[in-house]
Symmetry: D2
Subunit: 280 residues, 4 copies
Amino acid sequence: MKFKVTSELEYNVRYPSTFIFNIHALRTKNQTVLEETLSLDPFFRTEELNSAVSENRFLRLDVDKPTNLRIVYTATVDSYFQILDMNELNALPVVQLEGHILPYLFPSRYCQSDKLFRLAQDKFGRIENVYGKVLAINEWIYNNVEYLSGSTNSQTSAFDTVTERAGVCRDFAHLGITLCRALSIPARYFTGYSYQLNPQDFHACFEAYIGGQWIIFDATKLSPLNGLVKIATARDAADASVASIFGNVISTYVKVSCELLEQNFVPLFYNPGEMKGISY
Amino acid sequence: MKFKVTSELEYNVRYPSTFIFNIHALRTKNQTVLEETLSLDPFFRTEELNSAVSENRFLRLDVDKPTNLRIVYTATVDSYFQILDMNELNALPVVQLEGHILPYLFPSRYCQSDKLFRLAQDKFGRIENVYGKVLAINEWIYNNVEYLSGSTNSQTSAFDTVTERAGVCRDFAHLGITLCRALSIPARYFTGYSYQLNPQDFHACFEAYIGGQWIIFDATKLSPLNGLVKIATARDAADASVASIFGNVISTYVKVSCELLEQNFVPLFYNPGEMKGISY
Amino acid sequence: MKFKVTSELEYNVRYPSTFIFNIHALRTKNQTVLEETLSLDPFFRTEELNSAVSENRFLRLDVDKPTNLRIVYTATVDSYFQILDMNELNALPVVQLEGHILPYLFPSRYCQSDKLFRLAQDKFGRIENVYGKVLAINEWIYNNVEYLSGSTNSQTSAFDTVTERAGVCRDFAHLGITLCRALSIPARYFTGYSYQLNPQDFHACFEAYIGGQWIIFDATKLSPLNGLVKIATARDAADASVASIFGNVISTYVKVSCELLEQNFVPLFYNPGEMKGISY
Amino acid sequence: MKFKVTSELEYNVRYPSTFIFNIHALRTKNQTVLEETLSLDPFFRTEELNSAVSENRFLRLDVDKPTNLRIVYTATVDSYFQILDMNELNALPVVQLEGHILPYLFPSRYCQSDKLFRLAQDKFGRIENVYGKVLAINEWIYNNVEYLSGSTNSQTSAFDTVTERAGVCRDFAHLGITLCRALSIPARYFTGYSYQLNPQDFHACFEAYIGGQWIIFDATKLSPLNGLVKIATARDAADASVASIFGNVISTYVKVSCELLEQNFVPLFYNPGEMKGISY
């Protein structure tokens, strides 16, 4: 499915600063970047680099003097996903997980799964099927946490959200990840562009590792699960924030869009009885 | 320098459980494991695996029935370290860091560097030399945090320790890491065996990335810096705990030792004026 | 109903220290202290004083030199309670509450009701009857929080317990208070001696203010509601801890008992359908 | 010294709601309210009431239907303060404190003094004179916490501020109170109108109890210590917030002013060497 994604970001750089952006569409075997452009005004040299610990295309940029910076990224992306029959995918016990999956079991900055162990066991521990467990987690977050712009900030973690019951997509994703890990289900943060998200913005979801596949879940239910263009996956937003800034900078403008370049888009969401999972 | 290290661990396994241990001496170009033995009573099949996100040798073990488990690991290790002249090592600005180093700049479970930014800047931001900065952090922790067994637990993070001012080696290390990252200095957790640590136990220190080298620091000052045998390095203890347990298990016994197999050991510590750094 | 209560406390006083104890049986119109004795070994002068903000009999004691201190308090108490028909007691809206009740609506050290507002509304907001609301809170805590000795400490607050789902009587009481206040129901901490509590210890419950009466609830269900001897009520344990210590002291021994001096004790607990409330 | 104080508050009341305001100038032996007016548009019946646990004049108001509410309070106040020679005021040890002072020693919602014990001891424990201790606390907060509008919210407590090092007057006051209590010095929250505060707003300070007198401190140094009109004192902002709202309301406008009705105002601040204390 072909999408055109765009992000426009403006910053007032007050002192020399280094940026690490996560805005590029990822290149994976299921996601082809057909073309992309990046423009900076004023121009600064950029560098793309990868992290060993997450899937992403960091864009690093050193702004060596005060300025107003404008960045525009556009890409045409062919994104492919599979619909899997979750009846056939059993949970892998910890003893069978590949080594590179283990970190997604451990707690991380915004996902203190060590603190939610009892709560997760009590609420979801008795559900037998692992897909059913994650779907129940997703529904529980959707039903119990209020989507409320401005209610949280970059320091808010799942430990806050599980009690305060309000947040944005990032907080919903962190809570989903945390509850999965507390049940020994590997889970990770997914950030990307999202078709039909209203209003348009960067979006965050989470993926659970079931039967050897990363299955996507969106506890906000704000975006069709088949309308995503992946920017990054990571343990949590600490490793995949839109912009990590080392210096003194004020964000002044953000605009994001995701358009479909095809017709016949049928939005997909999970239906509790159906046992279908979407994997990018 | 040759050491013999031993760890004896006993557990009461109440339900089938999976363990992931970090007790093996790491094999690196500077650390050679000359021989090692692992014994389990009763016997269970074990598997060694690596994580992509940290340096370690995870030992995974599935105990499929209730039992009392005893594990004994011994190794003879030749550990080599360098003493570097820190006058010659300048800090690398974020823009020059290799991609695989970036994760050590970001906050993690026990190291909420995003929350300590102002405090770190105020206390240490004006020190010019980056080694001097980290040494000042190390001294500050040593002088301001009380080493107090039992004062903290596996949920304690740097955000707690910076205020409550008490903890064990793990907490000292987490606080050191957090303050470094808040100053844009990559830092990581180091866990290992430690010669002349009294009483003997697993030890935790931290490493800061200065001039392309990981330099070791121990804010507890309980262990000579040249008496360490590395088990793992990681972003924090979430990725390198002695035992991650998935199941229902009670720890009943821990005994750790580290003996020197050579003579002429001269314990090394940093002296404020000296500008020397030890790198494993 | 007549009880004999006893508490024996021993401390190793390392430096001159001041104690403020809450161990005396309270004197109220419904609770008569028939006789009581207090012995200290070695002897120190004590002083009894009251706080304006809570019901208690603080015992203050200045130990001006290092010593091993032993305190024994015994009392014979006639404790009277009412069983009220909760059908007849309606909630008082905030606008009708007496001024001295308002503080029991506001958050306090261990009861951060401001943070649990959404959670309380979602879970209990739709229950019409206020007694029904508090009973549902009590049941929810009983069913969702595990009683686990040693799982918490003197810094643990309701914000922790609501997520970590484990604690002791004090934590159960704090969570009950917090959820009530988040629903605009005044609530306070109750600490006392408890008949048939097993093992014997100081006990903590909570009271909700319904229809002008303080009704007692015990989310641990460990103690019959008609077997309590009140020591203090307060906004939370910050104002009614067994011992507030200003100095350097180690607690070495605690023994508490509560014996019935009558016959024919029929333990009372609430039954969901019954609409009965006990008020001391 | 005569002041004219005014506060104008506007709210969009979306559902029937009850307000408890703290905006009235307090009547004390040192503060005379010469005249005051309160106007509500539309009109609702109001009630003034007092709390047993704090000095304040709660204004309670029930708005029984959706509306836009405007409240204007004005008062002419004669405020008197003493300048005390702090050389003559010694700290009272805990054993000599009156019973009604004890609650100001205990931790409260925003002042978790139990968690800052070690930090307070380390930083200020060695200062002999108690006034010197509090002045050092005040200076330390002033020098180490950045005044930053919008950096905190109504849930921010001293435990956050001591690490995050940013906040507004309320946070500065809470941290001052907390550090005092951690050193066994009773301390409380003071909120009022403030002459020469720029921009004009409700202000918060703290008072420490030294030698039987409540001495005022302002760690923001934004307001002359002799230009205050007291609204309330309390254990912390939980008991003295400008408006506690039970219902569904959006604040839409706040304007506060404090004018001097005399001439010859000489702003007073403490000077480190002077040993003077101001008591209202």
